[in-house]
Amino acid sequence: MTTGVVRAIAVSVFRESVRDKVLYNLVFFAVLLIAVSYLLSQLTAGQDMKVIKDLGLAAMSLFGLFIAVFIGIGLVSKEVEKRSIYSLLAKPIGRQEFVVGKYLGLLLTLFVNLAIMAIAYYAVLGAVAWVDGAWFRPHWEAPAVDPMLLKAIAMIFLQLAIVVAIALFFSTFSSPMLAAALTFGLYVVGHFNADLKNFETVVDSKPVAYVARVLYYLLPNLAPLDVKSEVVHAVPVPATYLLLNTAYAVVYISVLVSAATFIFARRDFK
């Protein structure tokens, strides 16, 4: 695999995403967040900081999810549908480089998006702390501009990285609509995956429990990557926990991208 080729494809994905009005979504998000934060700081007493932190992180997850799914699915299917892939694959690139380049390009887009959202988020937290800090600071569980929030943001990024890999995987062989539905479905299932692990405590049937256990290992386990509540409530999140979950995400993504490459490499573009 040639690094230069992968980089060129990734940069082109980023350029496409930026020109696809994703940035306008971001501006909208930032403005919305600021407005809502201001309103909430007017309505709540003492809990304002916690609510703003929760809301901001949830908004980052949600907007990130939309970007990951909708752009992630378009990455491959649009190229195939509009046939721009014909001239591209005639260039000295392998299909593997195409898939990996597309994936990394969207990760770059997500990273930049999340970084801008995080800056807006910290700016709002700083502004609220500066305006209301003297009154409410004693009630806060954690400082307003808390660096620990970055842990939650990093975990959101990992979740989205898995979602992009799922979207990419489905878009290599199914229609965009089906791929979007399946990706959203897996995102939701991924947050309740832990229930499958101990399914034998709920059902008596051994085969059912066995199938549930297999599904537990096959489906993405996204709930452990959600540490929003912990950081907002100043519950410590150990570095080893983050590292282990990062390793899980990397392995899961590698398997998905490899599977996507395997399918894509054998596909006919009729």
Binding site: G4, E16, Y86, P92, D268
Partner: protein
């Protein structure tokens, strides 16, 4: 060494969702194209031309058979460095300008920024869209997109170029420019393989042609050598014919058309040859405006071949019955 070689190249597509059945789009194609040749790949719509080109670009995989470009298997990255490809009715990224698109493709070949800029500028000039280099591609007309498509196929100064219907979407001026471009590629030793359903394009440009119908190779060779395109008569345009001379030729002609004052078009049989005709005419004081051979057109050839294949199918004796 062959620039392009295919051996029993066959492609089946699966049709139908619930009860899929195989549809054979290409039947055991054998083709050999020499380096430096301009090769016309002719056939009506649905003949299998694009399928063949996609197989050569490895956009689809063959059901059986084998294809090589420059003595290497198709799809080999080292081969892709040495070829260019213009797809049929190409589409490129809306959000890019022509300059950005060519620069992106040049990056994939590993050229540095100075080299990329040089190649992009030269090609934009060559295909006549230098003035629109910074315009987003979504604002381009079909003909302009076709020109961008030709430019991107030449970004690496390829040894072998594949053009799928290169004249499609172009106005007469554009067609002439593409013809000149193909001739200039030929002059500098580039192998050009292009598909078309227009015989005159092939006649003007090609060393050899292959004719495809219903996924089967039905003829190949030099156009002048192909029995299918033999001369079947002469079209003579003359003025100043005397009434006696007109009557003498009218008796022989298959068709006589008055074009203008004292100007006639005569469709004459193959024999006697043009030398005899010219002697007769100049002897009687007529002026010869033009004398052209009448060949069977590609369209006539297709219609005849398709009719033959259909009758083979219905009679149940043809090979096509077994394959369908």
């Amino acid at each position: 060494m062959y620039a392009i070689r295919t051996e029993a190249l066959t492609k089946d597509f699966s049709i139908g969702f619930w009860r899929p059945r195989a549809y054979r789009a290409l039947h055991g194609l054998n083709l050999e194209v020499n380096p430096g040749e301009t090769f016309g790949f002719l056939g009506p719509n649905g003949a299998g031309k694009t399928t063949t080109l996609k197989l050569l670009m490895q956009l689809i995989y063959p059901t059986s058979g084998h294809a090589e470009i420059l003595d290497r298997p198709v799809g080999d990255v080292s081969v892709k460095r040495r070829i260019g490809y213009l797809p049929e009715s190409p589409y490129f990224y809306d959000y890019l300008t022509a300059e950005e698109l060519l620069d992106y493709y040049a990056t994939l070949f590993g050229y540095d920024s100075v080299e990329r800029r040089r190649r992009v500028s030269a090609l934009l000039d060559q295909v006549g869209i230098a003035g629109e280099r910074r315009l987003p591609l979504r604002k381009f007309s079909k003909g302009m997109i076709q020109r961008v498509g030709i430019a991107q196929a030449l970004i690496n100064d390829p040894e072998v170029v594949f053009f799928d219907e290169p004249m499609s979407g172009l106005d007469p001026l554009g067609r002439r420019e593409v013809r000149n471009l193909i001739l200039s590629l030929r002059d500098r030793g580039c192998t050009v393989f292009f598909s078309s359903h227009v015989l005159s394009d092939a006649e003007a440009l090609c060393n050899r042609v292959a004719v495809l119908a219903h996924g089967k190779l039905v003829a190949s060779g030099r156009i002048s050598d192909l029995q299918a395109f033999d001369i079947r008569g002469w079209e003579l345009i003359v003025s100043g014919l005397t009434p006696e001379s007109l009557e003498r030729h009218r008796a022989r002609a298959q068709r006589v058309t008055l074009l203008g004052e004292q100007r006639y078009s005569l469709e004459l049989p193959l024999a006697p040859g043009p030398e005899q005709l010219l002697r007769d005419l100049t002897g009687s004081g007529a002026q010869v405006v033009s004398l052209n051979p009448i060949r069977e057109t590609l369209e006539d050839f297709f219609v005849k071949t398709i009719a033959e294949q259909a009758s083979e199918r219905w009679s149940g004796t043809g090979e096509s019955r077994k394959q369908s």
